[in-house]
Symmetry: C2
DNA sequence: CTGTTAGCGCATTCAG
DNA sequence: CTGAATGCGCTAACAG
């Protein structure tokens, strides 16, 4: 009932375990005849090597962990694809963990991955806390932050230039004549939210528009529902005056749009909306969303490349910090 | 540089490896004092157990593989969440593989998971080929199919009742007065497509509407773009006459909607559309989509439960085949 | 209550 | 070219 071992295979074929091991690992020093015989035997017997044993023996693992903050966010699906493909191409496999944006799960995931002896990992941090990262450093396991970086600590990362994205979005609204622009953002403890806000501010500044803290709204969880109810509050408040919104994400934008429409206001005539991410559905909404596009597939791909490069070079090199450029996609909402 | 071992820990604390092992595994037979000392040491030294070694030794693994056909499909994100939570609750962890609907990747994934000695797996088959499943059977690794089953072989599965879903969708259109209903389906080699088509047929039959093979259209890849171009072809064909469409998925429905609107036709006035899945964006489209909702989270949860139940009982019991009921969600498109 | 011993499945010396 | 012996890190008897 328990699976065949290499030894079993060797015995039934009538050779030694080492020889079987050699053909399994494509060693040159095996007689063609023996090799053929063994290969056939392996196939016939349906032998499946035990990677636990192999990896234990080799004291390494050829697998990298990927800790993603939310796989239900289509934004990350492409990031993962990019990572997965790059990894497989280089002979690595991936263990994927979803933290559902909960820090506790991030901790558990990192812990588990460490125990499984991944050789490195990609991580989308869900919290500015760096305990996890220190743990990784402590274990000497290299990692690359994806999509977000942490300002408190110097690490490898591959992110989109969120400050630029925020700037482009805001600049677009300003060009359209808007001066009172609301920013519906995430908690600025994470770089993506912080930087997009920074880009927003810079655009304002460059155009001589005074920054108004009252026009910066923050939602605790980055969901559509949260944005919807938050926007309803804002729209009810007569003291808050604006003609456009720059949202942290397309999801938030969708919630905002719903709230705006719920009040009988027109988009973009009454209020213009810009989102962020350019998720697939952005172009399919009733009012196709003007948004910021980031090269997600590449994000994942580059991150893995950096990680593996790191693995291959023994020396402790300087961190790679990559920023890819986002671009503005103009549709109907602004 | 290489990580601490249990033996290292034991030595620096001044006890034997077995004792450390005991506290690690919460054995009762350890003196409170010793236990405390060891727990402290473990924490201070930052020891991370090597799961490869542990699992090798125990000849089991506490991890289950999940092979999903497409993580970028938000439909599956919830399935995965359900599976992940159920697994963690019972002390199992998950290795997630995305096959991107490619059979070759499905094979690779299953192979890898087997080598990693997962104790069982969930699988959304992308192909009617059962080689993979036979391989699993051969290795004695239990598995549960999710979302789709294969008619050729008797297995555990947890699916939505697609025949019922197809029936509900079609029935709804018929009640609305439609008699010429197009079905835009997937390749009916997989159960989901096949069953939805079957439900469509049954509804027709029950209402005395003749089934017309010309009204069944099939797209090879289940993407929006494919649906869009396919529908354009259909709409150009004057010989094909219909007033409503039942689509295999919301994605296809979105493509169809785009094509219909592109021709200046109104939905649902000129052509009514029903989708399937009730993905998040279904309610957010310009014309909110009437569709079939399936309890996705529960699908994943139940699948894991079945798998683990299977694991716990040594006896080779009869396959569990669970069908959960979908429901009709009426919105604006039909 | 604690330590000693053995072996999980494999890759790699080292001999032959 | 092939085989026998060793140990990766860990847990589970078995003694004490």
């Amino acid at each position: 009932m328990s699976p065949l071992t290499l030894k079993d295979v060797a015995k039934t074929i009538g050779v030694s375990p080492s020889t079987v091991s050699r053909v399994l690992n494509h060693h040159p020093d095996v007689a063609p005849h023996t090799r053929q015989k063994i290969e056939l035997g392996i196939k016939n017997l349906g032998y499946t090597p035990n990677l636990l044993a192999k990896d234990l023996r080799l004291e390494t693992t050829k697998t990298i962990g990927v800790v993603i903050s939310d796989i239900s966010n289509p934004y990350f699906a492409r990031v993962i694809r990019g990572a997965e493909n790059a990894a497989r191409q280089r002979g690595y496999s991936i263990i994927l963990c979803d933290t559902a944006e909960q820090y506790e799960l991030e901790e558990e995931s990192v812990e588990l991955l460490l125990k499984k002896r991944v050789v490195g990992l990609l991580l989308t941090p869900v919290h500015e806390d760096i305990i996890n990262l220190l743990k990784l450093k402590g274990q000497g396991v290299p990692f690359v932050l994806v999509a977000r970086y942490l300002s408190k600590v110097v690490t490898n990362y591959v992110v989109s230039d969120d400050a630029l994205g925020g700037y482009l979005a805001t600049q677009h609204l300003i060009k359209k004549g808007h001066k009172k622009i609301l920013h519906l953002g995430g908690l600025p403890s994470l770089s993506d939210a912080w930087d997009r806000l920074a880009g927003y501010k810079r655009a304002l500044l460059e155009n001589g528009i005074a920054f108004d803290q009252n026009l910066v709204r923050t939602v605790s969880t980055v969901t559509m529902d949260e944005a919807y109810s938050h926007m309803n509050t804002v729209l009810s408040d007569k003291k808050i005056d604006f003609t456009a919104i720059f949202c942290f994400s397309d999801y938030l934008a969708m919630g905002a749009v719903k709230a705006i429409q719920g009040r009988g206001l027109k988009i973009p005539a009454d209020i213009a909306v810009v989102g962020y991410d350019d998720i697939e559905m952005a172009s399919l909404l009733e009012i196709p969303l003007t948004t910021i596009r980031t090269p997600r597939y590449r994000l994942g791909k580059r991150a893995v490349e950096i990680l593996i490069d790191h693995l291959l070079q023994e020396k402790d090199e300087t961190p790679q910090q990559i920023m890819v450029e986002p671009s503005l996609v103009v549709r109907k909402s602004a």
